[in-house]
């Protein structure tokens, strides 16, 4: 426990977390500080590309691990499963409508790639080495939760859109999945020689870009909080704090069952405990338009994301070290 607190407070004072806090402060104080949409998108493309490529090179280095396929399957299974858990919790803890609850559940079954990126930094700073294919697991976990959520919504009488081919294509080929999987494969194919060519671009400046990106996330989260007063009842808030712990617990179990390294276990917890705020919201606007976006965006970005950043990630890393060591 003490270790976790020590790690958490060490993590708290990194430039990344402080940048997020600065963004939150600026938005809540209604400063006009903003980061242009194009710059924010540019940074997210950079981060996705870099993390995917590094994952691919790591797999190229260590050879294809037999556990890769098992890990992918486990990730898909978790993403299918967690929305049911989240939905049950939401129906118990909050008064959200079935449609809203299903939409929120989709977010918590899916993953937050920025949380994953930050988690990878912390894992590395803690001296651990995670399996390179965890980035592929992340990509695999993005979409399945959406299907569970639409099933939940229609079972409860909600008017979920039919999953037509168009919607499938949109979800499976959404920008972040394509970029993550694509750069993973490029890293896998080009390996160390490829890395040598672009290392100065994707490794050295990575954490600095992450700082500015988290500044932007703080701004967006803070603006969301300001606009969402009233939306967040105590029950909803409690869910936003409890669900990442529950999710991380499932991740821990999966990681141990798979026999991942401590770094891999930590990242599995990070993934399972995080909530999407890019891919899933867009899918929900199309497939469950009656669900209120301020509920799921505020919960995912305004509650769970900061919780994971500040407390979750260091805790999961400490747990994984304790269990795995």
């Amino acid at each position: 426990m003490q270790d976790i607190l020590a790690l958490a407070s060490a993590n708290l004072l990194t430039p990344m977390i402080l940048c997020f806090a600065l963004g939150l402060f600026a938005a809540l104080a209604r400063s006009e500080l903003t980061i242009p949409e194009a710059v924010a998108k540019g940074m997210s493309i950079y981060l996705l590309f870099a993390i995917g490529f590094k994952g691919g090179v790591a797999v190229a280095d260590h050879g294809l691990d037999a556990r890769l396929v098992a890990a992918l399957l486990a990730g898909v299974a978790l993403s299918f499963l967690l929305p049911f858990v989240a939905f049950a919790l939401l129906r118990g803890m909050t008064r959200l409508s079935a449609t809203d609850a299903a939409a929120v559940a989709a977010h918590y079954g899916s993953i937050s790639i920025v949380t994953f990126v930050t988690g990878s930094s912390v894992v590395q700073a803690a001296g651990l080495v995670a399996e390179g294919y965890m980035v592929a697991v992340a990509a695999a976990m993005e979409a399945p939760a959406i299907i569970s959520a639409l099933y939940l919504a229609s079972r409860s009488g909600g008017r979920a859109e039919k999953m037509d081919a168009e919607l499938w294509r949109e979800i499976l080929l959404n920008g972040s999945i394509v970029l993550l999987v694509g750069s993973f494969l490029i890293g896998l194919v080009t390996g160390q020689p490829g890395m040598a060519r672009i290392e100065a671009f994707i490794v050295a400046p990575f954490q600095g870009v992450l700082c500015l990106f988290l500044l932007d996330m703080g701004l967006v989260a803070g603006r969301g909080m300001r606009n969402a007063r009233g939306v967040l009842t105590a029950g909803v808030l409690a869910f936003g704090l409890a669900m990442p712990v529950v999710g991380a617990g499932f991740g821990l179990a999966a990681g141990l069952l798979l026999g991942l390294s401590p770094g891999g276990v930590a990242l599995m917890m990070v993934l399972a405990g995080s909530a999407s705020y890019i891919a899933v919201p867009a899918a929900m606007r199309v497939a469950l338009p009656e669900a209120n976006p301020s509920v799921y965006l505020t919960l995912s970005l305004g509650v769970t994301f900061p919780f994971n950043l500040v407390l979750g990630i260091p805790a999961w890393v400490a747990v994984a070290q304790a269990v795995g060591g």
Binding site: E37, A40, S294
Partner: protein, 102 residues
């Protein structure tokens, strides 16, 4: 100059629905439209801004100039898409040069 009566339809819609809307317009025989970016706005679902966003969030404005007799087909097609979604449709009388284009 010689101008011809037309309607100008402006549809403000969530960005993730843009593809579906334009597909529906094309199906309804609309021969042209223009998509304008939107910075932010306010409505029943509150205030929002595009700044700093990374997903396909936010809205876009789709502007169509069409012959008056095609208005109903267009509105029906647009409405079918917009119906359950956040968004606004406004129509104004307009005039165009080169009527053969519309």
């Amino acid at each position: 100059m010689q101008t011809h009566k037309a309607k100008r339809v402006e549809i403000i819609i969530e960005a993730p629905m843009e593809g579906r809307l334009t597909a529906a317009l094309e199906k309804a025989g609309v021969t042209g439209f223009t998509v304008l970016p939107v910075l932010g706005g306010s409505g029943r679902s509150g205030r929002w801004t595009r700044e700093g966003q990374v997903g396909r969030s936010g809205m876009v404005a789709v502007v169509c100039l069409i012959r008056p007799e095609r208005l109903d087909a267009l509105l029906e097609a647009a409405y079918a898409v917009v119906d359950r979604h956040i968004g606004v449709i406004g129509v104004t009388d307009a005039e165009v040069l080169r009527a053969e284009r519309f």
